[in-house]
Symmetry: C2
Subunit: 462 residues, 2 copies
């Protein structure tokens, strides 16, 4: 990649070193995410790029380091800095790719199940009955009717100890995490411990609020408690991506940690409604509501496009979180709040979740059965949620399988390629198979294609 | 107010001086906004409160100063710090007051005009036709179909030079301002000049992003250009709250300022669709799209409860603003984006704006006619928007009129009481009359009550 390619994107008319690092960083991120710099492209050395642009080398080093941390670039001793395979990062989803035939990446429900008619009918019914005030500027915590409905639902379905006054309506989990990061920063917290492996996207959001992250190692009992840190971000019901459940001993250990250190646990219950072998484990929040933030959303139960979720926050975090809402100015529109409140109250939401659960339970069983024909290695974790981890023998094998999948029209996500590990030198590799993603008509053919692809793969338990 | 009252709200288990100032500040803000500390309540001296709480006096001073700046408290030499009359601050709207009979505060359209049936029908039609992808995680800048519709509309209706690629969908103006503040901060901007008088809420949002604000004095030609500052926030079409239009000479001066200083103008076109005497003046943005951010919303044209707006950003701000979206995690849900795109495309939005414009033009004329029966002093500014400024002789008179209004069941907003001035010692006073706020059936009685109230008021041009 020559100077010319970069020159198009870099707006170096902006003064200040900090600003320059950020501008180079943004330009590179854009170039990678748009696909203009394809995976594997070798970037110029930091000294050479700094010379080309007439800026300090440190500025370029800083930008590269940030982008490596975010998973856009990979850096290896001796071979310089290259563009990572980012096909699996969230941003990649926002573009129109020449799509492979089958998409088995995790993070999405079957969008074909979204109850379009039910949603539209609810918008119509609730808008017709809404007060004038509901259309006005409204409570930044969310409409009372929705906070009531969420508290009732979470208490019933997830065992959350939820007072409507503790509920804050969000535009999805990422929004909630950004609000919490800002609020915790304001309260003096400087570090949030996050699961390793865990979503790189969450670490990026936390860092954008001025905090740092430290890794929480994950084994078959779930995440282990941190040494320090003021807060921990966990997926207790179904660790993402490993699929294990936080063990009773670890639940107790985290509660003890929170009480001893006056710490906060953020419980990301992203797919807590979906457990297939037994009743889902109840929310960790119930054991210590004064130390645990419960976070849920409709992204997996209905559709990510709704941008609708909720937090249940401890009393001492309520005002700081509402301050963060005020400072960032984003709240969810009235029509969506009224509609989801109505679906929760009428039981339509529960009925939809139950239908979706049946569908995903079937798919998970079919996936496990089919993989049993190619390997003795079982899927990691419990039968739950919308994805399963299949361990592979090496990073090289992971890359080979993903590339072979793409060639065969199958879009797959690798645990390394998608930046799940905090440190880039972990030996463990694997596929995170999103079995909910394909539309119903594509599920069987996708499964066939996957089984064929994995026929000669080096599958090996960690 | 004793130690006990405060003790309920202060969570002083949090370490760190910065955190403590913030916690005291939050607790006080909550106490004032909830009405538990009524207007006029005298707060303990900073030394005495610091002693009571066992913290540094500077911490208390800092918290008081911030709340004075935000308009929650007022500080007068000799009489200490008191709770301000905050009945007009935005937060106050979020509560259920024992409402006066008539509300003439500004900032809202007649919510009775909101086209509920049209909106619900559009949600139904567009959801039925939507692609699977529309329900997935989508472009953080907004759905392509909406960015196209907004660009076409703004170009036609407001003369904006809008490329769909430059449009960013927001959850309303405040959200847009928070994103811009964060983006500008990242580019090295440290100060945004804002109009004086202007909304205190905007200054709070800018400061929450780590920037400072400086005042831009406003005369009958609109705001004057700043000495320094990296960005200016303006209401060129209809200055809020004075109602004047930015003169051609000032428009040129701001563009020159932006070009010379490589500055950014944020054009808050909050009510640009509503001009009653002639065609509305076109967007300032058209004169220098590389230096002006155009910001619009549906809060005045449809309803604030929709939480739906848009920015048109210069090329060099696009990635920093999208980085800010990613960092704060809030985007607008698909159903609302599809619905508003549909209403814009079908011309339904234009038809609704035209109907609303007729209604508000009538009200503005009736207000002017009625006030002419009690005073020779005309309403300030041009006939436009949803509010008009009536100048009063003094701050004391402003307070007297507002209190007398409340006693008579009339809710009014004062320019001083609501914190519009940057500095608390300005002599100018007045009412900002929101004539769009009352429902249709209440308009005439509200006007009667206002005329009676103002019969003996000291009305005097500035």
């Amino acid at each position: 990649m020559g100077k010319g390619v970069l020159g198009v994107d870099l707006h170096l008319d902006v003064a200040g070193t900090g600003a320059r690092a950020r501008t180079i960083e943004s330009a590179l991120r854009e170039a990678v995410s748009s696909g203009r710099l394809p995976a594997g492209t070798r970037l110029p050395g930091t000294r050479s790029l700094a010379d080309d642009l007439g800026i300090a080398r440190g500025t370029v080093v800083e930008a590269y380091a940030q982008l490596v941390a975010e998973g856009w670039l990979v850096s290896a001793t001796g071979s310089g800095t290259r563009v990572a395979d980012t096909s699996m990062l969230p941003v990649r989803r926002f573009e129109t790719l020449s799509r492979p035939v089958f998409d088995l990446r995790p993070g999405r429900p079957d969008l074909g199940l979204f109850p379009r008619t039910l949603w539209a009918a609810s918008v119509k019914r609730t808008l017709a009955a809404a007060s004038r005030e509901a259309l006005d500027y409204s409570d930044p915590a969310g409409l009372k009717v929705l906070r009531d409905a969420v508290a009732t639902y979470l208490s019933r379905a997830r065992g959350v100890r939820a007072d409507p006054a503790a509920v804050v309506v969000t535009s999805g989990f990422t929004h909630g995490l950004a609000l919490l990061s800002r609020a915790l920063h304001g309260l003096g917290v400087r570090t949030i411990a996050t699961e390793d492996p865990g979503l790189v996207h969450h670490r990026t959001v936390i860092r954008a609020a001025g905090l740092s992250t430290v890794p929480l190692s994950v084994d078959s009992h779930g995440a282990d408690v941190p040494d320090g840190a003021g807060a921990s971000l966990l997926t207790p019901a179904h660790q993402h991506p490993r699929g294990v459940v936080l063990s009773p001993a670890r639940r107790t250990a985290f509660i003890d940690w929170a009480r001893e250190h006056d710490g906060i646990v953020i419980e990301d219950d992203y797919d807590g409604e979906f457990r297939y072998d037994e009743q889902p484990v109840g929310a960790l929040q119930a054991a210590a509501p004064e130390h645990v933030v419960f976070a849920g959303s409709t992204s997996k139960t209905l559709a990510p496009g709704l941008r609708l979720g909720w937090l249940v926050v401890p009393e001492r975090l309520r005002i700081p979180v509402l301050d963060a809402v005020a400072a960032t100015g984003a709240t969810v529109g009235t029509p969506a709040q009224l509609a989801i409140a109505d679906l929760l109250e009428r039981g339509d939401y529960d009925r939809h979740v139950r239908r979706a659960r049946q569908a995903y339970r079937r798919r998970r069983a079919e996936l496990a059965d089919r993989l049993a024909t190619v390997t003795d290695v079982p899927l990691d974790g419990v039968p739950a949620g919308l994805h399963a981890l299949l361990p592979l023998a090496s990073r090289q094998e992971e890359k080979r399988v993903i590339d072979a999948g793409l060639a065969a029209g199958l879009q797959l996500q690798g645990i390394n390629a998608a930046g799940y590990w905090h440190s880039p030198d972990r030996p463990e590799a694997g596929l995170i198979i999103g079995y909910a993603t394909p539309p119903q008509h594509a599920w069987r053919p996708a499964l066939d294609a996957l089984a064929e692809l994995l026929g000669d793969a080096a599958i090996k338990a960690w």
